[in-house]
């Protein structure tokens, strides 16, 4: 099915523009055309289909689902809900406060905050389409485990004390009952609105990601990565994680870079560590969380994730 996009890129770059496949520019341009079309079509399709099925898994409803659950199931549920909710990071603060206010434990809330940006339907479908089910499953499972372990640790060490004091004083009003339109037409309208909103939010990251991917693919020789980011370089994984911390992108924007790096023979653990670190830890995200978390907690949050991603990277490189 995805060969349509290869065909399109073949036609445009080799036939219409007359570039040769062994030409660096032609190769890079081919990657760019193929990935831009493929990723935008996939992205729109995924968001639309999920939008049809979900119509309104709102933060208000999420809070209702998590409130009053026993801890064990709550962690798993928080991780899974993090995976299926596409809330943008600007919803992170009200959601965080709302969950704590509903007496959802801090740890469960942290689990949600960790898995939400990292594991989602977009990442899963794109990894599935481009890298196959094994890597997808590994990515999903480790994302969930990192989120749940992070939450458990936050709970174990009583990190509630690092939540800003004003958060505990907020009292929430009764959640408004806003009925969703669940007719087929309502669902389609909701799905389309979601596509517009999410694509509008991420398109630039996707273009930049594909641009970087195309540059790596066409112009950086394989030997460069073999020399610097090969399996025998023990620093490659931590370096990938550190590189990803200040950078921010979303899963859709990281896919072309992941694809290009794996194509160049960079070990999968190293590449996934970079992807996780870029999507889950970033300066803008930390600045948003700073509104509800004290500085030491942000440090612990970033440090835990960094260490976890390095571990994940080494593990995958050793196993695969």
């Amino acid at each position: 099915m995805l060969s349509v996009f290869t065909g399109l890129a073949d036609w445009l770059v080799y036939r219409m523009l007359g570039l040769a496949p062994d030409d660096k520019l032609g190769d890079a341009l081919h990657f760019f055309v193929e990935d831009v079309t493929k990723i935008f079509v996939l992205l729109a399709l995924i968001i639309f289909v999920i939008g049809l099925l979900r119509t309104m898994l709102t933060p208000e409803r999420l809070r209702g689902l998590l409130a009053g659950k026993r801890r064990g199931p709550a962690y798993l549920l928080a991780g899974l809900l993090g995976a299926v909710t596409p809330f943008c990071s600007c919803s992170a603060v009200p959601l965080f406060i709302g969950l704590l206010e509903a007496s959802v434990p801090m740890g469960v809330t942290m689990t949600f905050l960790i898995t939400s940006p990292m594991v989602n339907e977009v990442a899963v479908v794109m990894l599935l389409a481009i890298l196959g089910w094994k890597i997808t499953l590994l990515y999903f499972a480790t994302g969930m485990i990192v989120g749940i372990v992070g939450g458990l640790l936050a709970d174990r060490f009583g990190l509630e004390r690092f939540v800003e004091d004003y958060v505990w004083k907020i009292r929430m009003g009764e959640a408004p009952a806003i009925e969703a339109d669940t007719s087929l037409r309502g669902r389609i309208a909701f799905g389309l609105a979601q596509v517009r909103e999410i694509v509008g939010r991420v398109w630039l990251y996707v273009l930049i990601g594909v641009g970087i991917g195309a540059g790596l693919h066409g112009f950086v020789p394989q030997e460069f990565f073999a020399a610097h980011a090969g399996a025998d370089n023990p620093f490659a994984v931590p370096l990938a994680v550190i590189l990803g911390i200040p950078l921010y992108s979303n899963a859709a924007g990281m896919i072309p870079i992941v694809e290009a790096l794996i194509g160049k023979g960079v070990p999968i653990g190293t590449v996934l560590a970079l992807m996780m670190s870029t999507t889950a830890i970033s300066l803008p995200e930390l600045m948003i969380l700073r509104k509800v978390l004290k500085l030491p907690m942000l440090g612990l949050f970033a440090a835990f994730l960094a260490v976890a991603f390095v571990g994940v990277g080494y593990l995958f490189n050793a196993v695969l």
């Binding site: 709102t58 919803s91 009200p94 907020i170 009292r171 009003g173 408004p176 806003i178």
Partner: protein, 78 residues
């Protein structure tokens, strides 16, 4: 005169929502007093976690995302 509050921390969607409400009110000739609520405690006080939210005469009518124009019209006409 309807009292409209737009709940939101100042994100682009919230600004656009306020603009949409103002424009719609003008085209319908309905008089409104619009207020932007940016204080998180106040927003959560309305039970709204997904911004932007819209409150008409003290009642929450919308939460999450920019509302549709015909929805806005129905609030203003009611």
């Amino acid at each position: 005169m309807k009292a409209i509050k737009v709940l939101g921390s100042g994100c682009a969607n919230c600004v656009n929502t306020a603009k949409l409400v103002e424009e719609t009110a003008r085209s319908l000739g309905v008089e409104i007093a619009i207020e932007k609520v940016t204080d998180m405690a106040a927003i959560l006080g309305y039970g709204v976690m997904s911004t932007p939210g819209v409150v008409v005469d003290g009642k929450v009518v919308h939460a999450g995302g920019i509302p549709k124009r015909d929805a806005v019209e129905s609030w203003l006409k009611a």
